[in-house]
Assembly symmetry: C2
Homo-oligomer: 322 residues x 2
């Protein structure tokens, strides 16, 4: 039988919904502290209680309220993003040095942004620490495909077996995280070059922006580091239709090889659980947008569509180029 598409979405969008059971949701939230920043009313992420107690929270920078289960960065209300980011960097570097948190051993030297309501940039923090705070992260995923008289086929890469996260699993043709200064299409061009050796000109001529998927991921052992860490994500999605003459090739050592998969082979690999969870979701989104999954052949159509477009309880980014 294998996994249904709904089970694949369940694996990716794992955090409970208030509406499914207010009582269960409330009980589940109790396992977390909320992450806030002085001067901003919004909850920016959730910190697992088990992470909370492992962390040292220097009292000059952090207010920990155990009653309300809140951890607040207490920089001045009118602090600049640089000032907030500096304090967080110091805290995280000290934690990494102490070595109690497994996930911080995957330090990337990449900064991920956090936004206030209205898309105002609040601060940035080291990428690998994002799941400790449960902040929303952003990325791009693209599906490279060929479609001609031989049918529809997808360029599917296999992740390197030595990669820290999800080693050996199948991936989307191009995928990567967006750091603070990047915009989605810019990130796509960079990742397409790094991961699939696609020239900028090809990407600009062929890539089509087709939406975004969002889901509230809860990390399991395949992700590396502590389990149950929270990772709400927004992934901007692109379709890249290529001629048979353009063949993606690994551009760094993160990908082992690219292979052409038919629709049936892709469905089988999905059902086998061979894809990294969020990459499975991007394929399901492709199948829905391209009429491969329909309300008549997919029993959980509505549930799948809505679950992969989750609206978070946290403020999110705007990448509008004004």
């Amino acid at each position: 039988m294998g996994k249904s598409n709904r089970e694949l979405v369940d694996e990716c969008d794992k955090f409970p919904y208030y509406q499914d059971s207010p009582a269960f949701y409330a009980a589940h939230l109790k396992k977390h502290h909320v992450f806030k920043v002085n001067g901003c009313d919004a909850v920016l992420g959730y910190i697992l209680n088990s992470v909370m107690v492992k962390f040292q929270w220097p009292a000059e920078h952090w207010a920990v309220d155990s009653t309300n289960q809140t951890v607040t960065l207490i920089t001045a209300a009118d602090a600049t993003p640089e000032q907030r980011s500096k304090v967080i960097a110091e805290t995280l570097e000290a934690e990494a040095k102490r070595g109690d948190l497994e996930i911080l051993k995957g330090w990337r030297n990449e900064l991920y942004p956090v936004y206030a309501p209205g898309g105002e940039f609040l601060l940035e923090m080291e990428r690998c620490a994002g799941p400790l705070f449960g902040i929303v992260s952003y990325g791009v995923h693209a599906t490279c495909y060929v479609e001609d008289e031989q049918g529809l086929q997808f360029w599917v890469p296999r992740r390197s077996r030595t990669k820290q996260t999800y080693p050996g699993m199948l991936d989307n043709s191009v995928a990567g995280g967006m750091s603070t200064t990047e915009r989605p299409f810019e990130c796509l061009v960079r990742e397409a070059s790094e991961e699939a050796s696609l020239p900028e000109g090809v990407v600009k001529a062929t890539a089509k922006s087709v939406g975004c998927v969002s889901y509230f991921y809860v990390r399991d052992s395949r992700a590396g580091g502590e389990t149950d860490l929270l990772q709400p994500e927004v992934e901007y999605v692109y379709d890249i239709k290529l001629g048979r003459d353009i063949v993606p090739k690994p551009g760094d050592n993160e990908v082992e090889e690219f292979k052409l998969y038919t629709v049936e082979e892709t469905k089988q690999a999905l059902a086998n659980g061979e894809f990294k969870p969020n990459c499975a979701v991007v394929f399901i989104d492709f199948f829905i947008r391209h009429g491969i999954l329909t309300p008549e052949n997919e029993p959980d159509y509505y549930e799948i569509v809505t679950r992969m477009h989750r609206r978070f309880e946290f403020p999110t980014a705007s990448h509008f180029a004004s």
Copy 2:
């Protein structure tokens, strides 16, 4: 300036979200009774308190609990859908006869289904009564377009100025509600013939299933009948690419005329508020899937995408053809 895309989505997806303000949400819910059916745990819809008090609820069929603000159909727990539907039909016919509820004057003789969790068919009720109970309704919307060297253009119909709901407003090329026995594609074929005079063969050869939009609409005066009635909707979405030789024509008296709109003309008509609210959302969805709206040119990209794929607190249909 005109309306932004976000404002257009706001007009269609109007019911508050728990996550935006639990207190406001709770206070807002208090204006409603929940609609339940004996034998099923789920909340099936919301009934406005102002509607509640206008209704006569025959005590042999309905239990009204003012404390818990619940209206329950008390047919046997193992009643058949036919038995439940018959009781509701009697109640609704009596109400229509009494004439206190404006919306029941638009009696359609069309039956809309209500489902239990897992997609089990529970009952059906007269279409025009759906918003009184706030049940989820289902429909199909299709965008007919031409795309060639002259560019991308859409076939946009104007609703008849004598139509009861949204007279004179712009619409999607094909749109209609799904009654109990219909499946989405079947409904599309029927509506495409009735509303746009498109032959079944053309629809089957050209229509592509591309997802669904869902939103929690709250009726205003343009919808006719009482205002503030609730209308959570799932609309299955199709793209229909036509050659210049195929021209949609009004097939009944619901549509005044079809005209070709360029992307710019469509955007302008959207900003002018000329489209029926849910048809605006279907166009925004088209623009997102076709790379016309992107994260870089639409400031509220994520908010729009997630709001037009709302996951309801009510059970929904499955149209899986097993």
